[in-house]
């Protein structure tokens, strides 16, 4: 009879959550597991759960750092609802994560950390490993700290250094659970700790010890296997939303032939865009860390006038500060992309949590009538394509674009099929040639209505622009009432005509479906998963999910109006649904809103959608 450790159970998907103190190296552990997941050919998405403080008191619930990965043999669009496996390196991380795991979740704990002092710090009155509160879970108790020390004994390294690799013991155990080849991770140690062979050796030994320990103790009834996902062939990598955003702009810079200029001020959760772009001077990309949010955008407007691909990145509070300058760019009809990585608001709000509550501000938050293009990225990997398209639209239509992403997309990661830059659509900014006799500052392209880009340094095109209303064609200052009407109309119509240059809305499901789910931006993965699951179950449900918001795709009204019920779901109090009601008032909309700084969950949405289907 086969021993139980040889039994392998096939799973379609799984969610694992690594949790420990912020100094326990949980992000690295999660990333190494992600790498091995990639090697296994699974599709996956991840989300880090950092504490708001940089170094919260050790051992407390507020100091817990987590990393969740959702992986599977099918297409994965979310970082997962609740975890099937929790690795808790101390009592605080167990406490902090009990609400984020399934009722049947497997819990791996470091029993060495469950001592009186740590239990008290975490706010436990009794030891949860002993008081029966974990009933229903398979709790795998491992004296991780002791066994780690044991594993490196012969290397004679000090206790403190030995402790640093205890996360690798936990990783070894999880590798065993999921039948992973742990030796592939050795290469990482060899590169990362090149300068310190002892550390390489220690990590190898501890990882191996964890793997063998899990095999030996027979605590698991079986191990798990997840088949490779049906991904298209090609080269893949893992990207976070912020990284993908930065790279999308770099690709747009190369394709447009315009040097990238980013003017930005650090703000959570957008700072990584600034940090990433500051690393790429080899592409002539300038990342200017300005003295404040206003200087961030205004320097970018200067760069735009001077002929750069102009980008500024921020989050909600920064978007508020940039409002006046966006109006200036609207008036001067210069390109600029403003990335708003949305977070919980108002004011400082919830800086590390995610929300979709800046939509109205993006659409209307300026003095005067100041229309801009508004787009919203739909996934971490889509941030690359959204950034690229935002840059293309801004340059080709000579108009500001606000690109909305959010904290979940920005910090979350997913598998990204690496494109060839030259396979992306071309970008052709309307740059005026020297001494063009027809050049006038506010003469327009007859189709797009965009004006032309006459870049300082070009002979024969000297002109002045500014925030005062401009006379049509000549661009001279004008206070003429009819001219103001005309220019206001032109600025609006120019943005409206962008609809001719963006893809039509694609709706999942046929027109006879009973329920159409509508969403936008970063909720795509969860909503798609919920709707696809229900369609598989035979439910009459469809999905219309928006990336282009101003202007909306041309077929929007036609595409959504034929369903019996339309339910608009957003992580705010109903901003997009209000916009739809305003734009297409003869359609009836239902709405579902959540504003807790948390994403939707698949389970939550499916339960909700079912209530509308009876």
């Amino acid at each position: 009879m086969a021993s139980k450790k040889d039994r392998v159970v096939d799973l379609e998907t799984a969610v694992i959550r690594f949790a420990g103190d912020s100094g326990d190296g949980m992000q690295l552990t999660g990333n190494l597991f992600s790498d091995s997941t990639a090697f296994a050919g699974n599709d996956f998405a991840t989300f880090p759960d950092y504490p708001a403080e940089i170094r919260a008191p050790q051992g407390t619930v507020s100091g817990v750092s987590g990393f969740q990965i959702h992986f599977g043999g099918i297409d994965i669009h979310t970082s997962g609802d609740l975890a099937d496996v929790l690795i808790a390196m101390n009592p605080a991380s167990l406490k902090a994560n009990m609400t984020w795991i399934t009722n049947e979740a497997i819990i791996i704990v470091d029993t060495d950390a469950f001592i009186e002092k740590n239990l008290t710090k975490a706010g436990y009155e009794t030891n949860p490993l002993k008081d029966g509160s974990l009933t229903g879970h398979l709790v795998v108790e491992a004296p991780v700290t002791t066994l780690t020390r044991e594993a490196v004994k012969e290397l004679h390294i000090d206790n403190k250094s030995a402790q640093k690799s205890k996360n690798m013991f936990a990783l070894g155990m999880v590798f065993y659970m999921f039948n992973r080849n742990y030796k592939k991770t050795f290469k990482f140690f060899e590169q990362k700790f090149k300068a310190n062979p002892l550390v390489v050796e220690a990590n190898k030994k501890v990882l191996t010890a964890g793997y063998h320990f899990a095999h030996t103790i027979e605590a698991f009834a079986n191990t798990f296997r997840i088949e490779p996902a049906p991904l298209d062939s090609g080269l893949y990598r893992n990207v976070t939303g912020n990284l993908a955003t930065a790279w999308g702009f770099l690709a747009a810079s190369e394709r447009s032939g315009r040097n990238l200029f980013l003017g930005s001020y650090p703000i959570t959760p957008a700072s990584e865009i600034l940090q990433e772009l500051s690393r790429h001077k080899q592409f002539s990309a300038i990342a200017f860390q300005a003295e404040d949010e206003i200087a961030g955008i205004v320097s970018t407007i200067g760069a735009s006038f001077a002929g750069a691909l102009p980008i500024t990145s921020t989050s909600g509070p920064g978007l508020s500060l940039k409002s006046e300058a966006i109006g200036l760019a609207v008036m001067m009809e210069l390109p600029i992309v403003i990335v708003d990585v949305q977070r919980g608001g108002p004011s400082t709000g919830l800086p590390t949590k995610s929300e979709q509550s800046d939509l109205m501000q993006a659409l209307f938050g300026r003095n005067g009538e100041a229309p801009v293009i508004v787009m919203a990225a739909q996934s971490s990997a889509d941030c690359f394509y959204s950034a690229y398209e935002a840059a293309k639209l801004s340059l080709e239509h000579m108009t500001p674009v606000i690109l909305l992403t959010d904290g979940s997309l920005a910090n979350g990661s997913e598998v990204f099929k690496i494109p060839k830059v030259k396979a992306l659509p071309g970008i052709k900014p309307p740059i005026v040639k020297a001494n063009d006799p027809d050049y006038q500052p506010y003469r327009r392209d007859p189709e797009k209505l965009s004006r032309f880009w006459a870049i300082p340094g070009t002979e024969g095109l000297r002109h002045r622009i500014g925030g005062l209303e401009k006379q049509d064609i000549t661009g001279n200052v004008s206070h003429d009432p009819h001219n103001h009407q005309k220019m206001t109309d032109l600025r609006k119509e120019k943005v409206k005509r962008v609809a001719n240059y963006i893809p039509e809305l694609e709706v999942i499901g046929k027109e006879e479906e009973e329920l159409l789910i509508v969403g936008w931006g970063g909720t795509y993965g969860v909503m798609l998963t919920a709707v696809q699951d229900m369609r598989k179950e035979g439910k009459s449900i469809g999905l219309a999910h928006f990336k282009h918001i101003m202007p909306l795709p041309k077929n929007t009204k036609e595409a959504i109006s034929k369903y019996k019920k339309i339910l608009v779901c957003e992580l705010n109090s109903g901003q997009f649904v209000s916009y739809l009601r305003m734009t297409f008032p003869d359609i009836e909309y239902l709405q579902y809103n959540k504003i807790q700084g948390l994403p939707f969950m698949v389970k939550e949405l499916k339960e909700l959608f079912n209530t509308y289907l009876n």
């Binding site: 790498d35 080899q282 003295e291 320097s299 300082p456 340094g457 002045r464 500014g466 925030g467």
Partner: protein, 351 residues
């Protein structure tokens, strides 16, 4: 890094820089004379006319770009400095001139102003200081003398004003000059010096607002009093002033003192000699601080210290990275680090 293109055989005149727009400043406003001086200076610089960019914020002075036939940008209130910085960083070849006022750069744009000074981009800043808000019709500004009655300070202001020179030097600015709007020759000379200087050259122009703050600088500018209240500084020249050209400055203890040549055994040799290139800002700040009628007001180039420009530092770094980075194209970047290949074979034949 590319340097400013200077073409020796370029022949330009004032006419090349005059715009066709009607100049709408009040008759008698000091800004007219400043505009004429700038129009006189630009053709002298040997720079092609399409390489000039004139940038401003908001206020009376900030209408300036509309009156120059160059590339120009009239921005939003207080933000001329970041506009100019973005332009200069993007294209260091351009000759960037920033026009601003005491409200624009010392109140709403104060933050940008100090950061421009410390970063030292090669931008020429003309700070029109009329010590009042003109365009909004007569409220006090951050340079209005304490106690002044204005529309928004009927009892007199309660605030200590900024001294722009002290602020610039305090923000680690490397070039500061001061001129009066009544002396075109002086303006031309100093604007040329500023244009030649590589870095942020900030020039305070004591400008007169005929409507809301008339004669605010009259001690320094009026025919009767100016000679006793102006000290025009030149590098290597003793600090001598006065109708009789017999008064001068000496260091006494830790401060400056006025002495008369020929009295108490004082000769020209005892008088301080101006050194704008001195890195130590001590005497430069004392010069900025001098106030009429107790002291003459220091004019001319007060401080001019060599330093690396912001754009040179940035573009040197770009050149270095271009030479040394293994990533030549964005495709290389996308494929750098941890990647993996999915092929049909590890796909179990799916899709």
């Amino acid at each position: 890094m590319e340097q400013l293109v200077k073409t020796k055989d370029l022949v330009l005149s004032k006419k090349d820089f005059e715009s066709d727009q009607m100049v709408k400043w009040c008759p008698g406003c000091g800004d007219h004379a400043i505009l004429r001086s700038v129009e006189n200076v630009f053709p002298e610089l040997g720079i092609p006319k399409e390489d000039f960019v004139v940038v401003s914020g908001i206020g009376c002075s900030s209408r300036f770009p509309y009156y120059m036939n160059t590339y120009g940008m009239h921005g939003i209130h207080g933000r001329a400095a970041p506009l100019a910085t973005g332009i200069k960083l993007t294209n260091p070849k351009l000759s960037v001139w920033m026009i601003t006022g005491d409200g624009d750069s010392l109140a709403i744009g104060g933050n940008h102003f100090i950061h421009l000074a410390r970063r030292n981009p090669d931008i020429n800043v003309l700070l029109f200081n009329n010590k009042i808000y003109g365009l909004t019709k007569g409220q006090f500004s951050p340079t209005t003398p304490k106690g002044s009655k204005t529309k928004s300070s009927p009892q007199g202001t309660f605030e200590v004003p900024f001294n722009p020179g002290e602020l610039v030097i305090g923000a680690r600015g490397k070039f500061f000059a001061r001129v009066v709007d009544t002396n075109p020759k002086m303006m031309t000379e100093v604007f040329l010096e500023a244009a030649k200087y590589r870095g942020a050259s900030i020039i305070e122009i004591l400008a007169n607002c005929v409507i809301f703050n008339n004669k605010i600088h009259s001690l320094v500018t009026s025919r009767e009093t100016k000679e006793d209240n102006q000290l025009f500084l030149r590098a290597g020249q003793p600090m001598i002033f006065g109708k009789e050209k017999n008064r001068g400055l000496v260091l006494k203890g830790t401060g400056l003192e006025i002495v008369t040549i020929g009295e108490n055994g004082i000769t020209e040799k005892d008088i301080l000699v101006h050194n704008p290139y001195e890195v130590d800002p001590g005497i430069h700040i004392m010069l900025c601080e001098m106030k009429a009628p107790d002291f003459p007001v220091a004019l001319g180039v007060i401080r001019s210290v060599e330093a690396e420009t912001f754009e040179a530092a940035v573009w040197n770094s770009i050149d270095y990275e271009k030479d040394t980075s293994p990533l030549k194209k964005v495709d290389d970047l996308l494929r750098s680090g941890n990647t993996w290949r999915i092929s049909k074979s590890n796909n179990n034949g799916k899709k």
